[in-house]
């Protein structure tokens, strides 16, 4: 213990005062010859133990109080040796960068690496001389800076450190160090330093250090992991696919597992959880650094709604975040599709609905598909139908057109494809309320399109689709460049007459010429989708392209307003999700795994009527709801999504020392470790107050005896 004013310790002599008073008091006792000594001694024996204890306690309390006062005035402090970088003792400008990526949440003793990093950052901040300017940044991708201006206010930095929590995001050191470098560029101090607290995992350094080769600040890395070997196991991926062999609602859950250890793992427990309840368990052997797979078959029920959280969990290790992975699946409502075959043929593969019905039956296994000829269709036949497809129908009867208007307005879906038999004039007249755009003249392609490598092509002139917009929910499941869709060739298609701009109408696909290929329109509670070409091979080879099945499946789902019984979109922590407004929805609400709700208003949406949701810090299922103009809330399960860990954070590989950006050592060998001063007078003052209270209580008790 050390003292700021040691001369005041002379006051400790006051501690003998209570003893002197006690001794003098004894001498000043009145002598008395007393006859009833026996009674007196008996009384004394009866109370002596309590009385002596109280007297001793009183004496101790008074002595301690007398000693505490000069001790407090002498301002005692203790010096604790810390292992914070020696460089912290210089006058400087410093940016503290704290790695809050997912790997930092792994446990290290009783706390996590992130807690340890934060504690060390606190110690560093306290260690800095008072004239050091400080800023505070986080190293996870997409994180916002905590304190982005240099300031000498240590309390502010300490407060910001206290409020930090570890994220589940990927690390991005290049961005963090670049930002730190930019902050330090405006520093008044000659010494500019970046203090990085991290576990030195290689993940996050892929983009380099982000620092300029010349004039960059010094970087000091504090490896909070202590370079300890970290062995990890992770669930890399979870896929859910329909499994009709398991019965109605049957799903197959495929989990990919990884081992990051030197010895491998025997009998690693793998459990399947559905809606938080463990329903199956198995074991997997993993080779050192190898991969393993585990497949579960399970039957989902419709109890509690068709949506289910499917989770695969392995035996826990230090990093809990990657020991489980989630998928969210929605059981399809029974879809009843009525296909009106406008161009029946005797050869099955030439029949208009051949490819379309096959795509529906395979893409939506639970769907009930009925094909009828136009003369067999009556308005009554729409009663138990959820989707009507009019394929190359010459002209709908007026009764059918009126019935279809009622059907769609009430929430039904209508798919229209055209062909040689379509009478555009009659269609435009009878189906005006339903058509997204009036039908025009057919157009035949006049040029040969480019040819993809290895592609077997028809030699007719054709057009292709323009690049797709994956922000549209219907196209979100397609690969980034629309493979399987943009390769389709369109020899002929029907032009659509211009229609006034309307929020209810949107073009989903265009041809290269700019003409609309797939257009949708909201009518009442239902939707109408118009494909301006055929669904057989007469005008296009789209039906034999890989993208046809998912296109038909997604179109059917969107028209009926349900998702399929397979997993919904899965994002990595920190990734953004595009959410689309439909119809006259005024608000979208995202309910997060922690129960909080994020709200987007219609006014915030862009021209494609979508908003970007980026607060995907927490792992789990995010549910989307839409609020209509009249305040009615509707679930939007097709927009639900899950957020899982970016599994690159699971890899314990350490950063190659050659790639480290350290410019000076955290601690030079042989240098005296810095000391941290801990003021003790507060504690002493608290103890003294406690002693005074004890003394008062004992004195009062003595008087009451």
């Amino acid at each position: 213990m050390h003292f700021l004013a040691p001369s005041l310790l002379l006051g400790l002599l006051a501690a003998v005062l209570p003893w002197l008073i006690h001794l003098i008091g004894k001498r000043r006792a009145l002598p008395m010859r007393f006859a009833a000594m026996q009674l007196l001694l008996r009384s004394e024996r009866r109370i002596s133990a309590r009385r002596r204890l109280r007297e001793v306690l009183l004496l101790v309390a008074r002595t301690s109080v007398a000693a505490a006062l000069p001790l407090i005035f002498a301002r005692p402090f203790a010096e604790r040796t810390t292992d914070v970088p020696v460089a912290s003792l210089d006058p400087q400008s410093a940016v503290i960068v704290l790695d809050d990526s997912a790997s930092m949440s792994r446990s290290a003793g009783l706390s996590t690496l992130f807690d340890r990093a934060r504690d060390r950052a606190r110690a560093l901040v306290r260690q800095f001389p008072s004239d050091v300017d400080l800023a505070l940044l986080l190293a996870s991708a997409g994180s916002s800076p905590k304190i982005s201006e240099l300031s000498p206010e240590r309390a502010r930095v300490l407060e910001a450190l206290d409020s930090l929590v570890c994220s589940a995001r990927l690390a991005d050191f290049a961005s963090a160090l670049r930002n730190a470098s930019l902050i330090l560029a405006g520093s008044a101090h000659a010494k500019r330093r970046i203090y990085l607290f991290t576990d030195l995992q290689a993940t996050g350094w892929e983009a380099g250090t982000g620092l300029a080769a010349e004039g960059a600040p010094e970087v000091i890395i504090d490896d909070v992991s202590g370079a300890a070997r970290w062995e990890n196991r992770a669930v890399l991926d979870v896929g859910v696919v329909p499994a009709p062999e398991a019965g109605a609602g049957g799903i197959a859950v495929d989990a990919e597992l990884a081992d990051y250890s030197a010895a491998g793992t025997r009998a690693l427990g793998v459990a399947l959880k559905v809606d938080g309840v463990s329903v199956a368990k198995g074991f997997v052997d993993l080779t050192p650094g190898g991969r393993g797979h585990k497949r579960f078959l399970h039957r989902l029920t419709s109890e509690g709604g068709g949506a289910h959280d499917v989770e695969v969990e392995i035996d826990g290790d230090a990093l809990r975040l990657d020991d489980h992975r989630l998928a969210h699946v929605e059981l399809a409502r029974t879809m009843s599709v009525l296909i009106v075959n406008g161009d029946p043929r005797t050869a099955r593969n030439e029949d208009e609905p051949f490819f379309f019905a096959a795509a529906l039956r395979n893409g939506l296994p639970g769907a009930v598909v009925t094909v009828k000829l136009p003369d067999d269709v009556s308005p009554e036949s729409l009663a138990n139908t959820t989707l009507v497809a009019l394929l190359n129908l010459a002209q709908p009867s007026e009764a059918l057109a009126a019935a279809l208007v009622r059907f769609v307005s009430a929430g039904g879906g209508l798919f229209i494809s055209v062909g040689d038999r379509v009478d555009a004039t009659v269609w435009n007249q009878r189906m005006a309320k339903l058509l997204p755009q009036p039908l025009g003249l057919p157009r035949t392609a006049s040029a040969l399109p480019g040819q993809h490598a290895g592609e077997i092509v028809d030699d007719r002139p054709a057009e292709r689709l323009a690049p797709i917009d994956r922000n549209h929910p219907l196209l979100a499941s397609f690969p980034e460049h629309g493979e399987g869709l943009v390769s389709a060739r369109f020899f002929k298609y029907m032009l659509l007459d211009p229609a006034p701009e309307s929020p209810e109408r949107s073009v989903i696909l265009h041809y290269e010429s700019g003409a609309p290929a797939l257009v949708e329109k909201q009518v009442g509670k239902g939707r109408v989708m118009l494909l301006s070409t055929t669904v057989d091979r007469e005008w296009t080879d789209l039906p034999i392209r890989a993208g046809f099945l998912p296109l038909v499946r997604e179109a059917a789902r969107r028209l009926v307003g349900v998702t399929g019984d397979e997993e919904t979109a899965s994002l990595r922590a920190g990734e953004a999700r595009s959410l689309a407004f439909a119809g006259d929805e005024q608000r979208l609400e995202v309910s997060r795994p922690d129960g909080s709700v994020w709200v987007a208003r219609r006014e915030q949406a862009n021209s494609a009527r979508t908003v970007l949701y980026s607060e995907t810090d927490r792992l789990g299922t995010y549910h989307v709801r839409a609020v209509g103009p009249d305040g009615t809330v509707t679930a939007r399960p097709e927009q639900d999504f899950v957020v899982n860990l970016d599994t690159r954070e699971s890899n314990p590989a350490r950063l190659d020392p050659a790639l480290r950006p350290d410019r000076i050592a955290a601690a030079s060998p042989g240098a005296k470790p810095p000391k941290h001063r801990v003021e003790l007078w507060h504690t002493l003052a608290a103890v003294m107050i406690g002693l005074l209270l004890c003394e008062s209580a004992l004195t009062l008790r003595r008087r009451s005896v």
């Binding site: 009145l30 010859r33 006859a35 009833a36 000594m37 009674l39 007196l40 109370i47 005896v705």
Partner: protein
């Protein structure tokens, strides 16, 4: 009735005794003895305190003076006043000492006995029998009792059992024995007496077994009842050879001391009850006449029933 301090201002013990007796007997008879025999022995001139029913009206008619009849028991009854004069009886802080107080009571009783023409004797003791005056009805006996009482000084240790043993050897007639002591350092439960009682209760029981009427006056100073001190006090024993000391904050001890003192008196009350000895407790700040009056009233009630 005068309190002990006022009595102390009176010039002589004789006067004090008379004052106490007059105070005690205002409005009541002064019959001390409980004896009732039917065998007439002699006449005695009437004295205040004699029962009216004992006046021999025939003798009054013959001699024109008042005479009362005396019966065998009454003429045979002697009164012994036994006083503890050990050093502890000298304790006083305010008022008078226990020995002085015992002297007031004893002189009043002696005066009363003398007035009734009975024989009164006196034994002053500490660890030995210090002064012994056999009972007698001779003229000057009461004055001799007063003289011895006035001359008595507290000194020496206490051995009440020894004194009562000595007394038991001296008296052969049925007597009233009035024993006055503070009984301090004398526990009724101390081993050595008969029937699991201490030596003093044993002696008292022996006296009762021989037909003596025994009354015990337990005298204590108010300080020995309440310990009403405020300071840190260094207590020392009073009697010779008593080396016991205690340094204590008196207020800390007061409550426990009060309980101990009360328990001590209760033990003696129980021991006396068991030995058929009349127990009377008196604080030295109580008016002696009141103590005497209560004593006599109880005895008269005992005669009637």
């Amino acid at each position: 009735m005068l309190d002990p301090v006022d009595l102390a201002r009176l010039a002589s013990l004789d006067l004090r005794a008379r004052t106490i007796v007059e105070g005690a007997f205002s409005g009541m008879h002064r019959n001390l003895h409980a004896g009732t025999s039917v065998e007439f022995t002699e006449h005695r001139e009437y004295a205040p305190g004699d029962e009216i029913r004992r006046i021999d009206w025939k003798a009054v008619g013959r001699a024109d003076r008042y005479y009362v009849k005396r019966f065998e028991d009454e003429t045979e009854m002697h009164t012994f006043l036994v006083l503890d004069a050990s050093a502890s009886m000298g304790y006083r802080r305010r008022g008078i000492s226990k020995l002085d107080y015992a002297g007031y009571l004893a002189s009043a009783l002696a005066y009363l006995v003398g007035q009734q023409g009975d024989a009164a004797g006196l034994l002053l003791f500490d660890e030995n029998a210090r002064s012994f005056l056999p009972p007698s009805t001779r003229p000057g006996q009461i004055r001799e009792v007063f003289r011895l009482l006035e001359a008595a000084q507290p000194a020496g240790r206490t051995d009440a059992a020894l004194a009562l043993g000595h007394l038991g050897e001296q008296i052969d007639k049925r007597s009233l024995i009035i024993f006055m002591s503070d009984l301090l350092d004398c526990e009724p439960d101390e081993p050595g007496g008969g029937e699991a009682r201490g030596p003093l209760p044993g002696r008292l029981r022996q006296l009762r077994a021989r037909g003596h009427d025994v009354a015990l006056f337990h005298l204590l100073d108010p300080d020995e009842v309440e310990l009403p001190f405020d300071d840190l006090i260094f207590f020392e024993g009073m009697e010779p050879g008593d080396t016991r000391t205690l340094l204590a904050q008196a207020p800390d001890l007061a409550e426990a001391f009060g309980r101990e003192s009360e328990a001590f008196r209760d033990r003696w009350r129980a021991a006396c009850l068991e030995a058929s000895v009349e127990y009377r407790f008196a604080r030295t700040d109580a008016a002696p006449a009141e103590v005497l009056r209560a004593f006599l009233a109880d005895r008269q009630r005992a005669v009637r029933f």
